[in-house]
Amino acid sequence: MQPFGRLRAGPFIEARGLEYTYSLEGSGRIAALQGLDLAIGWGEFVALIGPNGSGKSTLARHFNGLLVPTAGEVRVGGLLTSDPHNLRAVRQQVGMVFQNPDNQLVASTVEEDVAFGPENLALPPEDIRARVDEALDIVGLLDYRTHPPHMLSGGQKQLVAIAGALATRPACIVFDEPTSMLDPPGRRKVLETIRRLNAAEGMTVVLITQSMDEAALARRALVMHAGRIAMDGPPAEIFEQAEQLRALGLDLPSAVEIADGLRSQNIPLPPGLLTVEALARALC
């Protein structure tokens, strides 16, 4: 089968003057996105961070047309999401994985769950079989294909959800806090899988997270605040701006915090140390 990432020039996701306002019954309106411009290229690995209520999930839901802008526009693979004729094509290109794996599993065995997407695309059975096997192979769950998903661990359930997204062969997956309910081994496995999807399969990845350590894994970090993009750059550069991050209610990865502390104790260290391993190497 073809690789997932069809590496092309130009942006894959493009937002221009994007505004989104929730209208609330009886309690007014909330402007969740307030005029946002953004371009994400094919094959990028982008972390989306920001305080609760800053608009991260609202933005992510525009990437596959779950929401359409109240003003401005979003294009995915060149297609305008606000045109209902494009919705099917847009959703096929962008898969989503959410925080709570229990809310996104639908079938009684792992393989049926993963087959849900391709079945809805009305593919011939042998294609569905091939896609399910490929997706389960990528996330390392082929041996679990006949297991009931609710008997798996949290991390495994999340991998099933990822396989379900893969089986529709999207060019991009948006992960909305996929690890926040997982234990450390489950979290490691999911993050490893996300990294591999990007590096080996060329998948465009958007990772929403509250963990600065996870954001440091990406090649680009977007910081949201009050419905706008407040900072945009490689994690190493973003995390150098400790004061601005703290002002936005965010934090530093632990390694960066310790490295900053050491620098203020006159211990010279090179910039851009984002992990404990890198920091240990620099000290030795």
């Binding site: 929730y22 609330l24 019954e25 009886g26 309690s27 909330i30 920001g50 305080p51 609760n52 209520g53 999930s57 925080q99 709570n100 008997m151 661990s153 949290g154 991390g155 806090e177 926040s180 309910m181 997982l182 234990d183 450390p184 081994p185 489950g186 979290r187 509250q210 600065m212 350590d213 703290r246 209610g249 965010l250 934090d251 632990s254 390694a255 915090e257 310790i258 502390g261 050491l262 104790q265 211990i267 404990v276 391993e277 920091l279 240990a280 000290l283 030795c284």
Partner: protein, 308 residues
């Protein structure tokens, strides 16, 4: 309130093909005012254990005693209590792992007021508690009270649900993964406020979390569960710096400990039981000075030998 868990066994779906033993003879005692962190991988029985502490499950075997009375026993409600058989159970407040699942009211105010209402409190006291609880979780009462909970973001819903439990001002406060999904500032502030409240009231605090860096700021005692059994129970710092135990339990060592261990492995003379970033900085700075002085000595010694 003194909590005693005696040889507690819990089996889900007993006698069916789905039978699963979640707790296997767990015994522990939690004294009034203790701050206990319960750790363990997914499926180790943490959430089952805390539901027993809150009297929500009936033991398959063994018992859970709150001040000597079985936690799950349904007592008749005291006369002044309008809203059912809360009693002893309302002295234990539990916020579930997915607290937003427990939200059901029309406005944030009514959601948070639900518990205090059931305690039979006066309206004025309820309003005070709601405001206090919202501030505890970092939400502005003025702008939030009239919002519809279902229009909030995921992190905000979680805060509202936590506020609903805090508003009970329970003698035993149990938080199951309280900081999951909160932004870093929200996480830090929530833990600091809960800790300050605990210090002021002497309540018992039981925190369940995978996030050891968070627990390190609050807990004084660590109970580690693996496969439904207690595999470690002791002072937090001591348990959390035992890398082998944690790895065997499928947990990560806190990042500062991981760094100190890596340095120690390459010859630094550092202690490895510092759990907080600022503690690690102080320890590395101290050891760094010693290393530099040592290196200077070696260098000047060499120089001396070369010159003579």
């Amino acid at each position: 309130m003194l909590i005693r868990v005696e040889r507690l066994v819990h089996t889900y779906s007993p006698g069916t093909p789905l039978e699963r033993r979640a707790l296997r003879e767990v015994s522990l005692e939690i004294k009034p005012g203790e701050r206990v962190g319960i750790l363990g991988p997914t499926g180790s029985g943490k959430s089952t254990l805390v539901q027993h502490l809150a009297g929500l499950l009936e033991p398959t075997a063994g018992q859970v005693l709150l001040d000597g009375v079985a936690a799950h026993a349904r007592t008749a409600p005291p006369p002044r209590m309008r809203g059912g058989w809360g009693g002893r159970r309302l002295r234990v407040g539990l916020a579930f792992q997915y607290p937003e699942d427990q939200i059901f009211e029309q406005t944030v105010f009514r959601e948070v007021a639900f518990g205090p209402h059931n305690l039979g409190l006066a309206e004025a006291e309820i309003a005070t508690r709601v405001r206090w609880a919202l501030e505890m979780v970092g939400l502005d009462p003025a702008t939030m009270e009239e919002r519809v909970p279902f229009t909030l973001s995921g992190g905000e819903m979680r805060r509202v649900a936590l506020a609903g439990v805090l508003a009970l001002r329970p003698e035993v406060l149990i938080l199951d993964e309280p900081t999951a999904g909160l932004d870093p500032r929200g996480r830090r502030n929530l833990l600091a406020r809960v800790q300050a409240w605990q210090a002021e009231t002497g309540s018992t605090l039981v925190l369940v979390s995978h996030n050891l860096d968070d627990l390190a700021r609050v807990a004084e005692r660590a109970v580690v569960l693996v496969g439904g059994r207690v595999v470690a129970d002791g002072p937090f710092r001591q348990v959390l710096s035992d890398g082998e135990l944690l790895r065997a339990a499928g947990l990560d060592v806190p990042q500062p400990v991981a760094l100190l261990q890596a340095l120690r492995a390459s010859g630094w003379d550092v202690r490895t039981d510092y759990l907080l970033p600022e503690e690690a900085v102080a320890e590395i700075a101290r050891a760094g000075v010693v290393r530099r002085e040592h290196a200077n000595h070696v260098r000047s010694d060499r120089l001396w030998y070369q010159q003579h």
